[in-house]
Symmetry: C2
Subunit: 360 residues, 2 copies
């Protein structure tokens, strides 16, 4: 059955707007990235922030993934409950609520947590003490992204020493999320930081790198032990723009209906910012309409996608169903309770987004 036919089937059965995932493409994406990690001698620890679905993590595990990465404790709770027990939480945790929940989760899963500051280290130590277990902690290092992460080798080594000295904690290594343009700087940082901790008698057993765009650089950071790719499982316009995917690699589309056509040059989709999100990145427009490549989604209201059809030779009519590749699939998935799964051009079920909204 053709792609167009299954899109219409999905619209008819579920109504629009609805997110549709092609599992054949997901399989291919998972296999390709697993093979790349294997070839580079790196463990593959996919970031579940993209799919938030234990069902998809199971596909990644079956293909050879060594564990999962979660951004938030709430995601880790959901995935641990679903049997994904080897979890890296790549985020600074702190505060009463997080300490108590982390202590409660520790006996149920094999956790590693990242830290870039002493407040987090103290919180992790309190949780570990409360759980009566040892918690491995990696030092998050910033090598140019200016997000989280210590800025200097000195801070990295100092924090490693602080972790090693904290009750209940064990220094486990380094967490990196290098900008694609800063491979040399990242290598230099890692080499010095590794030397520094070794002088203290500590071993960076884990050196974790991240990012789907960084798959192109897999194996370039010497000393890396694992990679945390996220978006590759579904892909989107952003990974395409980064050169990390082609349209054929985009597994998720938002199936939506043209519900208004006020003039020959204008149309309205029933997908707006509550389906596609306002995430623009550096892209032009809010999604790619597969059936009408010359259509442009130039603006969004909450439930309206504003279509500029002036460059379409055969613009869609009212009632036509189209499928839109979103700009940023991770935030789109986080709006959905479930995704419709298709395979071989047929609807095969639904994928619950079990950790949707687990932002804390």
């Amino acid at each position: 059955m053709s792609a167009a036919a299954v899109t219409k089937d999905v619209a008819r059965e579920f109504g629009t707007p609805v997110a549709m995932v092609d599992l054949d493409v997901v399989d291919r994406n998972i296999r390709r990235v697993q093979a790349a990690c294997d070839a580079a001698g790196l463990a593959n620890r996919p970031h579940i922030k993209t799919h938030k679905s234990p069902m998809v993590a199971a596909m990644q595990r079956e293909a050879g993934a060594s564990g999962i990465t979660c951004q938030k404790l709430g995601e880790a709770e959901v995935f641990a409950a679903a049997g994904h027990l080897d979890i890296l939480i790549s985020y600074n945790l702190m505060g009463r609520d997080k300490i108590d929940r982390l202590a409660a989760l520790m006996p149920k899963a094999r956790l590693t947590v990242a830290a870039d500051n002493p407040v987090t280290v103290a919180a992790l130590s309190e949780a570990a003490e409360k759980a009566g277990r040892t918690l491995p902690v990696v030092v998050e290092c910033d090598t140019g992204r200016k997000r989280a992460g210590v800025e200097s080798v000195g801070e990295a080594v100092g924090l490693a020493a602080g972790i090693a000295a904290s009750p209940g904690l064990a220094f486990a290594g380094f967490l990196l999320y290098p900008p694609e343009t800063a491979m040399a700087e990242t290598q230099a940082f890692l080499d010095k930081a590794s030397l520094g901790v070794r002088e203290l008698g500590l071993e960076p057993a884990i050196v974790s790198t991240g990012g789907t765009p960084n798959l192109a650089h897999l194996g370039r950071i010497k000393g890396a032990t694992e990679h945390r790719p996220g978006t590759y499982v579904y892909n989107d316009r952003m990974t395409m723009a980064a050169g990390a995917a082609t349209l054929a690699d985009c597994a998720l589309s938002v199936v939506t209906t043209v519900v208004s056509r006020a003039t020959s040059a204008r149309g309205i989709l029933d997908a707006g910012s509550k389906s596609l999100t306002a995430d623009l990145g550096t892209l032009d427009g809010y999604g790619f309409v597969r059936e009408h490549p010359n259509a442009r989604i130039h603006a969004l209201a909450e439930e309206h996608g504003f279509l500029d059809l002036s460059r379409c030779e055969a613009p869609p009519a009212i009632g036509d169903v189209v499928s839109v590749v979103p700009n940023h699939v991770c935030v789109v998935v986080n709006l959905m309770d479930s995704l419709v799964a298709v395979r071989g051009g047929k609807i095969v079920g639904e994928i619950p987004v079990a950790a949707r909204g687990r932002i804390r």
Copy 2:
């Protein structure tokens, strides 16, 4: 108890990021807008897209609201099940799934639906026939916003005639969402369209206007019978920028923790685009930090808010909890399963966002 104290209580009890709603402010917003509608002689039919909570709609009803407005059928299903039975669906419905669900909902609620095209009219007629009931339909008219709605008086009158001639449907009036700058054009359109349908023996019993910014123009459209304000219930940076609210009218804040401080000028919040959304509108930055008015949230990753603290005299430390007024509260609420309710500086419960994610 002070605002700062309850913010910390919310963080301690629920963890961050979490959305907090001050019910004292909500009460005030509801009373103010109801009084304005009463004074203008307009029925108040609040748009529930902002709060998606039957609990909040009940507060609006108790204050005098005549019914509710829903953007999507899925919202109407949730609100009807919660006992809100007088519902205007201000959106073009079509397609098999919508027709069947609309037919199923008709016996359970007093529905009115908008249409701007014959495909929707045919779908509504099929649903009404299936339900064996009469469905009132209003013609959506565009008077400058270039979103949905017929563009000309001729189309409006023609569609009204088509509705009146369709089995199961009754022409009920006009749905307007005038730009704040197009009051005169809107009046002229409405006057001509009303004349046109009256010549056909049809009466525009409902003339519905919309928008929180348009509250400033309440009563200016002669012939209007009701208004559909949405955002006023919580307010946000966008309604503030539109002059429709002050900071004291903003009822919802995202409570978030500073989880990283790499340098003196930089900080990271644990609220990113999965909590605040990337919705920028025409604003600078992704939210207003109440405790640090000179801080600027200059970028968002999914779970990171990038703080520029260079203009803060007393920047927040790691672990500090702050509250952020979002740019666009409607899309933020749509990310949350529930909101923490406070009143008089104390936590009083949670508000389930029952229609969250009901985009279809």
